[in-house]
Amino acid sequence: MNDSMYIAATGMQMQQASVDTIANNLANVGTPGFKRSRVSFQDLVYRDMGGARAAASQATQGAAPSLWQGSGVGMAGIVKAFAGGELKQTGQALDFAVRGDGFFEVTAADGTPAFTRGGSLVVDKEGYLATSEGYQLRPAIHVGNDASELSVSNAGIVTAKLAGQGSPSELGRIELARFADTSGLQAMGGNLYRPSAASGDAIYGAAGEGGMGTVAQGWLEGSNVNLVDEMVSLMVAQRAYESSVKVIQASDEMLAMSNNLRK
């Protein structure tokens, strides 16, 4: 009896999830490399309430139309939009971004590969290029602690002037990775992503070749959150939440009335 309340409750839950996601997006509007998320809504399964009815009533003229009763709204998933954020020039030699498609690969704390769109790198105490959390790039690039004039070309070739050398020498090449389905990547926080069954394994390639983006040294990718869009979504979610609340109130009123049928 009165599924409308349960249906409306799904509406409230999903709008709440939507507001949570928007809050996370808004909180990260200034986080370099952040990718906005959105809740992907879908209607839930339907049940045919008409079949039982048609069988019960003897007056079936032709095929009785079905009475499909829905069960509310659900979440198909929280999907990250990997649209590029605006690139901002910082002039820092260790700030990196990918112009176009592609991820840098790093080794996460547990030794598994993780992927990032860039950020401020450091030279760790062993002399390797690493993220600020200390995750080394993969394949590892040894710069050393006394190198100067570190430069990375658009194609990802790292050169630096080592101590005691007059001219810069090549230290390695940063490889980029792509995924069959980028939206399937799992966010690990810290702008790191992990491949999943939905994203497929990484497809490696050289920067600037075969649809892969190029490496931009001295640039950081801004957050791709659009403030106006988020504010509009926030208002829509709030009002949609409100309408589900009204349904619950109205259903409650109806229940009260039916309870009062007998004085």
Binding site: D3, S4, W68, A180, A237, S243, S251, M254
Partner: protein, 241 residues
């Protein structure tokens, strides 16, 4: 006919109406959602039907079924070139394990196996069957042609229905054929790229329906109470004798 029985069914129908309103409002922001309408037959329609065919008994005013409103929702710009919205009211076809399903949600992507799939992960049907794409970028044009590496690999299939309202909702934005019939399996409705179709639920209409339903429910409840009062008085009077 028993007043209580009629009022009782009316109350039940209002509860069903409320469920469809609740469903519509819960999905007011679900992309590609089509609003549901509960259909009833009026007492008058039943009377005239009964007059035409004698054996047909009068039935109580029960809900006859539900249809979807297949009207198009507004298009919202998403800026993602792989978001496809079909102009008009034609549907995209998906190949699901349970057969063909139809959807208005055109959020296309390439899955791990290289198949072009919809938001629900089912392959999209095209003139060349389900499409397999390589890792290279692909584009879709206004005719629904999917292009990769400069050549057309297939054209997105769009299906037009007769009595689209009778499509059977499956959830997840998908519909099965149900009571509808295919009018044109290869329609040439243009597709809009970078757009997603919004839900076609009009919240104002639903709120109006809701207040009407609540008041109707209230009126019927009063009928039952009034009838109850009558019975009570009758019994008391009879007891006086």
């Amino acid at each position: 006919m028993d007043v209580n029985a009629i009022a009782g069914l009316g109350l039940q129908n209002d509860v069903r109406q409320m469920e469809s309103i609740s469903q519509n409002l819960a999905n007011a922001v679900t992309p590609g959602y089509k609003k549901q309408l509960a259909l009833g037959t009026t007492f008058q329609a039943q009377l005239s039907q009964a007059a035409l065919a004698q054996p047909l008994p009068l039935t109580l005013p029960s809900l006859q079924g539900s249809v979807i409103d297949a009207g198009a929702g507004r298009l919202r710009a998403t800026g993602d070139a792989h978001d496809v919205a079909v102009d008009g009211t034609d549907f995209l076809e998906l190949a699901t394990p349970d057969g063909a399903a139809y959807t208005r949600q055109g959020k296309l992507r390439v899955d791990v196996d290289g198949r072009l799939v919809g938001d629900q992960g089912h392959p999209v049907a095209s003139s060349a069957g389900p499409l397999s794409l390589s890792n290279a970028p692909f584009t879709i044009d206004g005719n629904g042609d999917v292009q990769q590496d400069g050549r057309v690999v297939g054209r997105l299939k769009r299906v037009r229905f007769e009595q689209a309202g009778r499509l059977q909702p499956l959830g997840g934005g998908m519909y099965a054929l149900g009571g509808a019939t295919v009018a044109d399996p290869n329609s040439s409705a243009p597709v809009k790229l970078g757009f997603q179709e919004a839900s076609n639920v009009d919240t104002t209409t639903e709120m109006v329906r809701m207040s009407m339903t609540v008041r109707h429910f209230e009126a019927l409840a009063r009928v039952v109470q009034g009838y109850d009062d009558n019975l009570e008085k009758t019994i008391r009077k009879l007891g006086d004798f």
